[in-house]
Symmetry: C2
Subunit: 310 residues, 2 copies
Amino acid sequence: MRRRLAAFALVVVLGTSALHADDATPPPSLTAKEILAKSTAAEWRAPDPRDLLVMQLPAGRVLIELAPDFTPLHAANIRTLVREHYFDGLAVIRVQDNFVTQWGDPDDDDNADRSKMKPLGKAKKTLPPEYTRPIDPKLEWTPLPDGDVYAPEVGFSEGFPVARDRASGEEWLTHCYGMVGVARDVGPETGSGSSLYMVIGQAPRGLDRNLAIAGRVIEGTELLAALPRGTGPLGFYAKPAERLPIRTVTVAADLPPAQRPAVEILRTDSPSFAALVEAKRNRRDAFYTRPAGKIDLCSITVPTRPVAGK
Amino acid sequence: MRRRLAAFALVVVLGTSALHADDATPPPSLTAKEILAKSTAAEWRAPDPRDLLVMQLPAGRVLIELAPDFTPLHAANIRTLVREHYFDGLAVIRVQDNFVTQWGDPDDDDNADRSKMKPLGKAKKTLPPEYTRPIDPKLEWTPLPDGDVYAPEVGFSEGFPVARDRASGEEWLTHCYGMVGVARDVGPETGSGSSLYMVIGQAPRGLDRNLAIAGRVIEGTELLAALPRGTGPLGFYAKPAERLPIRTVTVAADLPPAQRPAVEILRTDSPSFAALVEAKRNRRDAFYTRPAGKIDLCSITVPTRPVAGK
């Protein structure tokens, strides 16, 4: 007997199962795998290669999709840094349990020799905050039905988890697992994208609207989340030898087409995405006796898949 | 400049700061460290050594506090298993990114040689589910003020994160980061405590009321969260060599007093805990321009500290 803790197949109600028409028990359900298998090609999108970063770590590849609809100045500055090979040879410098993994220049630190800091080249040293943006009715908006502790409204927009406040007219990316934020110093305009972090624990939503979010890791969250935690203050690695080197970061558009990552992301305005959300809200299979009937924003991960045949 | 991403000192308003009496800006605030430094001895409790499990892994010690107020049959059965040295020599068998780390008997698996399974001895092979319990007015109840996506009411009780539904009269432990649940097979009465899991990502609250929660890791979450993710189905380790051996698990009460872990846990009905919660709801320092004004249940970690002088 495999103790499954949860058979954990994500399941969805088959609304048309005639076999169960006379049965008060909800019908059996599709698993997430089955929902995705039934999805159509049009429900998937290839990320724009200009917005796709390929970070090569010793253990493998991390793919980050930038979010220029929400943080365009940061996307542009990070692209500039990447194209200058700014990140190549830098390192993961901080892993704080249940919080974030952060990477950048180890010498970008009050306690380090700042004369050794890698120059930012043509990239801007500071940027306007871009913590929120005015709600844009032209952007996709797929709201979730179950509310949120932190914001009046939450949902997905262009593939990203987003919160909205119609009273203030703002929307913003949220600090869910795998989201990539822009580290900064105390002042709100001190971030440049030269140091980034990924959320590796319970969503620290209190950071929302206080830091810019540059995008989301769409492949390889585990490579950043499974690292040893730092023992210095705030989880910084106490010893240089503990740092994980970053081999290279590349904009996918700068790679020859054959070398670009062949991945697709499920559109968050697609019927299959809606089916996945509903499946996670109400799991109906032999394992779950009490479907939650609810789902919170950061419990939903947008699926990514390899492009068939590549 | 250390790019802090968040100076991340947890801060709380000093209500009596005369220096800022004439200032519209909120006064400077205490950090979490300062709040804890000002806490009184009576605000801390030593866990009952009968409810404290010491799990020795190659990299160090994990401490688990059982929750007999909520899952007494599971606490008793796990204690029986531990006292039989059931877990000694077993292993971490599964690490699924943004979900759970699970440990137990590698042969407790449909694909393994089940004839090799370690016997449970005097422990029960199955238990009543204990997914919820009737609300007990005698238990401490420290509600949180900001609502919850999944439950009508949430807060802390006896040091644990708990949800309540007064309509049904039930309360239950919630699947927050670091909580320890009881793996089971499909049937609700198939769990025994012989295989356990710890949450290592966004709280999978959809599991609430579908699995029993045995307790919480109060020290060493990072030792279970920083492990390589499994590449088999559901994050099970594909190769036996990947498994992390468990050296021993001991009930602290069975150790000589001098060898028992000397740790204390902040009482969740204490003023200092309330101050920490308020500090996290509304961070007031130079770093945060927009305090959230809200906090969700699973974003609060109950502090633990070594006993002074030990």
